[in-house]
């Protein structure tokens, strides 16, 4: 149990009278990518929202590095090291690119590293160097960015929070094929270079399984399969039934 970076146990959550998540359990080891698959309405987005605190769970547990975050408000979960890039990226279009990035680096937890103003400015500058398309327009409103660039900005902003766990909700949705490849490459680089544990929700099952370590298939709010990514990709019956390819 203690080896899991993220552990979700028997989670149930919903909106009003409807339970979107009935009973979901999963564990993700440190520095792995877990892809969550399933049809529309399977509960994928609700799972991420419940982990990050946007939706209060009705039952179950959420543990990050053995810290119990069940039912805590989103700002506390974020400060405990969980970064959530929501569906539709959540870039604040009215703020500049740099202000979006600065927001990411504003709520560092005290983990022994330097959290001073200069360190935060340096982290923002480093992000601008790493993503030159963003750096070039750092003083422009984020509204001028293309869809792919906004997705990169949202991910860069999430990384600036120095998270332990990164939740990504359909980062490829609505992007051009080239941008999709770029985003997927970035996600697999992140695991390799920073030991980040990633929970990735994707419609694009084939592309996501190609970079993931583990796959979880949801259907109507329950887990119908958990296996390593290669096994899931090879399971023709499962693919036909739940993933549609």
């Amino acid at each position: 149990m203690s080896s899991a970076a993220l552990s979700v146990g028997s989670l149930a959550a919903g909106y009003g009278g409807v339970l979107a998540l009935k009973d979901v359990s999963l564990t993700a080891a440190p520095a792995t990518i877990t892809v969550v698959l399933g049809a529309n309405g399977a509960g994928k987005t609700t799972l991420l929202r419940t982990v990050s605190g946007l939706v209060r769970p009705r039952a179950g547990r959420v543990l990050v590095d053995d810290t119990d975050l069940t039912g805590r408000p989103p700002e506390d979960v974020a400060r405990a090291g969980v970064a959530h890039v929501p569906e539709g990226h959540g870039v604040i279009a009215e703020l500049t690119v740099e202000e979006n990035l600065r927001l990411g680096a504003m709520s560092w937890r005290r983990d022994g590293r330097n959290t001073g103003r200069a360190a935060r400015a340096a982290a923002v500058a480093a992000a601008c160097d790493r993503f030159p398309n963003l750096g070039r327009r750092r003083h422009k409103p984020a509204a001028v960015l293309s869809g792919g660039e906004r997705q990169l900005l949202a991910i860069a902003r999430a990384l600036l929070a120095r998270p332990r766990v990164l939740l990504l909700d359909e980062p490829s949705l609505g992007l051009a094929p080239r941008a999709v490849r770029q985003v997927m490459e970035l996600i697999s680089q992140l695991r390799a270079e920073s030991g980040l544990t990633i929970l990735l929700v994707e419609q694009n099952a084939r592309g996501a399984l190609a970079i993931a370590d583990q796959g979880v298939v949801l259907s109507l709010g329950t887990v119908v399969a958990t296996a390593d990514a290669g096994t899931l990709a090879a399971d023709v019956a499962l693919r036909h039934h739940y993933l549609g390819y």
Binding site: S52, L54, P73, P74, E75, A78, R79, A83, H84, P86, G90, I92, A93, E94, L95, E99, R102, L103, G104, M106, S107, P141, A143, R157, A161
Partner: protein
């Protein structure tokens, strides 16, 4: 011609006060999507506090400072105690709560200070300024009024733009859900917004009361004009609120000057109705970055 200049200058002076009220309403609106009907009443109360302090200490500026501090505290207290429970609830809940607060504060003022009109001192002389031999229709206190409001607005704008707290305030105003996901403690940010609004309201009360007298309802019409100014500016825009205040002040001054002062409140309502009918997003609404 001289008359026109006089009406314009005095309109700018009154408009500055409407701008301060409008700015305070916009600050609250942007953060919480609540229109604080008690904003004027709270300003009335802090002005009574100023009057007490001025009487006790003999210093106008001590009263001025205490009133601003009281505005800050009242704004924060109002958010934490009565507004927090209705945030994110249907809009009517907040309307009822802030109207309740208005009735409560005005009632308390009546109980504590009585209903009679009291004169409130001005920071500077209210004798009219002259250019050569022509009276300009304004005093040094009017000049101070405009400068104080512009300074407060500029300080706010700089704070929004250049400080971390300002960035948190703007992020919360644009998208509170995203701000929370980034670790922003939205509750504290909203308290700060209400506190700053309380301070601006207190400033407006101090600046207008020498010309209106002070009594429990004395800020009601100022609130209505401040709200009209905020609507002219688009309710969402601090710069629009300041511009809206000045525009409204000048227009009302012309209406009062040329048509008769008894028509001023009516002119305010006509302007409000016209703006809501033809430019409901405000005079300055440009291209929208986001459709909510």
């Amino acid at each position: 011609m001289l008359e026109f200049l006089q009406f314009t200058l005095s309109g700018i002076s009154f408009g500055a006060v409407y701008a301060a009220v409008a700015l305070s309403l916009v600050l609250i609106w942007r953060g919480t999507r609540i229109l604080n009907f008690a904003q004027g009443a709270m300003a009335m109360f802090t002005t009574y506090i100023a009057l007490e302090v001025i009487r006790g200490t003999g210093s106008y500026w001590a009263g001025f400072a205490v009133a601003l501090a009281a505005g800050l505290v009242f704004g924060a207290l109002a958010e934490v105690t009565v507004i927090r429970p209705v945030e994110g609830k249907p809009p009517l809940n907040a309307v009822i709560v802030t109207i309740g607060l208005l009735v409560l504060v005005e009632g308390l003022a009546g109980i504590i200070y009585g209903g009679q009109y009291r004169s409130f001192p001005a920071a500077f002389t209210v004798t009219g300024l002259r250019a050569g031999r022509s009276p300009l229709g304004i005093s040094w206190f009017d000049v101070f009024t405009v400068l104080a409001v512009l300074a407060a607005a500029a300080a706010l704008a700089a704070g929004f733009r250049y400080t971390t707290a300002g960035l948190r305030l703007r992020a919360t105003a644009f998208d509170a859900r995203i701000a929370r996901l980034l670790g922003v403690r939205v509750g504290r940010v909203l308290t700060l917004g209400w506190a700053l609004a309380g301070l601006l309201g207190a400033l407006a009360g101090l600046l207008i009361s020498p010309s209106t007298f002070l009594y429990p309802n004395s800020m009601d019409s100022i609130f209505v004009f401040g709200f009209t100014a905020a609507v002219i500016g688009g309710l969402d825009s601090p710069a629009g609120a300041v511009a809206g205040g000045l525009i409204l002040g000048v227009l009302l001054s012309y209406a009062g000057g040329y048509l008769g002062s008894e028509l001023t409140p009516l002119a305010g309502l006509v302007i409000l109705a016209l703006v809501l009918t033809f430019r409901p997003d405000g005079l300055f609404a440009g291209v929208r970055l986001r459709r909510v």
